[in-house]
């Protein structure tokens, strides 16, 4: 499950770029391809946060 989540950014690149390679429409002032890129940078952080929270390896030894 965690691997599936982490694979999403890769799919967003390998499949998504064929559709996202365009200037219009502008989103948040940015050309679409740039928005798509920024969106997935942010989503990668979100996904890795979910992965982190659900990974049992992080449960033990909270002490830094």
């Amino acid at each position: 499950m965690r691997f599936v989540l982490a694979a999403l950014p890769f799919l967003a690149l390998i499949i998504g770029m064929f559709f996202a390679n365009r200037t219009e429409p502008y989103v948040l002032g940015m050309p679409f391809i740039m928005f798509w890129t920024v969106l997935w940078v942010v989503l990668t952080s979100v996904i890795m946060f979910i992965v982190f929270k659900t990974d049992p390896a992080n449960k033990e030894g909270n002490a830094e």
Partner: protein, 489 residues
Amino acid sequence: MNSALIVILAFLLISLYFGIRARQGKQMNLEQWTIGGRSFGTLFVFILSAGEIYTTFTFLGGSGWAYGKGGPALYILWYGSLAYALSYWLLPAVWRYAKKHQLLSQSDFFTKKYNSPALGVLVSIIGIVAMVPYLVLQLKGLGSIVNIASYGSISSGAAIWIGVIAVAVYTTISGVHGAAWTSVIKDTLVLLVVIFLGIYFPIHYFGGFSDMFHAIDQVKPGFLALPDQGMSVYWFISTVLLTALGFYTWPHTFGAILTAKNEKVFRRNAVVFPLYQLILLFVFFVGFAAILTVKPALEGAEVDNALLELSVQSFPHWFVGVIGAAGLLCALVPGSMLLMTSSTMISKNLYKVFKPSASDAQVSNLAKYLVPIVALISLYFTFKGGQTIVALLLMGYSMVTQFFPAIVFSFLKRNPITKVGAFAGIVVGELVVAYTTVTNQTVATLLPFMPQAVKDLNVGIVAMILNLIVTFVVSAFTKKKAAQKELVA
């Protein structure tokens, strides 16, 4: 002396002070000097890694790509995110293995994993051949940053000498602790400067982001997206994937992994790092803002000066000095890691292999004394390198990427790769990289009969595929032989 130069010098002195002070209260054996005694927490590992990743190339090259190439520049944002997603699983595995076997460098890793000092020597030599030009690139960047930001009052050559002396001094004394502390100053300053510039320029010159992009699109239609040929979607995807593989195979990046005190550090950082990358978006904004505003337009290698030229054109001297200082620090931090890693590898993975009787103290001292020597060699190439160094620069990233299969497959339960296979695969990969770079080949020139989509693929793919084929064929063959021997015996 103008106010810009005073600001730059002040930041240099502050960094030197923190860099030297970082040593305090530490027994500097090699483990402490080169990987901080495996004691760094999440924040320090984060700052050290950020310090290495965001170099003068990011600062100047990132804005230069946006200025000169437009849409394709976005690949830099993608490969980082993907590499961080991989890092969540890869880095803890590397760290665990290194901790268990008390490894200090990437070459140690190969030597131990494949039980082959010869492989360690090979990887060290390739690593050093890739790192020295990378250091030279940082020094050249440093020279032009300080030269432009000081309004020409200090020559590029003099700036490089001063910067190198400073970095060699604190690296020799404090090792990775010096790099980490200067990185704290660097990342704070760079973050503030870049975000400010990335917001200020589009608003000041165009009234907003949307207006800026519309204006560019009007003058250069299609410039903001990927072209149909050349740097097309196919080029984009293959380049991102290939670059993501090479992200952690640089010997100095690998070394930074070993500084962590536990493996959870990497899982935490894998969450934050993608977001932190957005700093690059602001670097791009600066590059885009420069397109219609810097007059006369920059050509050729000059495009990398887009950020600096626009700043000189827009701000008072003292603030240009702050930008120059940020750029200077972007060269010093990776510079110190490169110097330290090269020196450690020469001492521990080359000298010690050929002279096994050398004591730990001798190896440790030699590594430190090598710092100024490697620094001088880099200075020589910076001023006298010519074409060789340019070719090596282009190759550096592709060269270290060839380590990826041998690293990753070694973590499978049963490593399908033998030491001979790893050795042969890396050698073939490097030869292909060298051949394609020196003769300027692309997939289009190598395979002219292929469809356009294949022709646009990054040529590094060819080296990686041949590397994989040779690695697995040779491994299968040598494994069979080993099995036969066992049967006979």
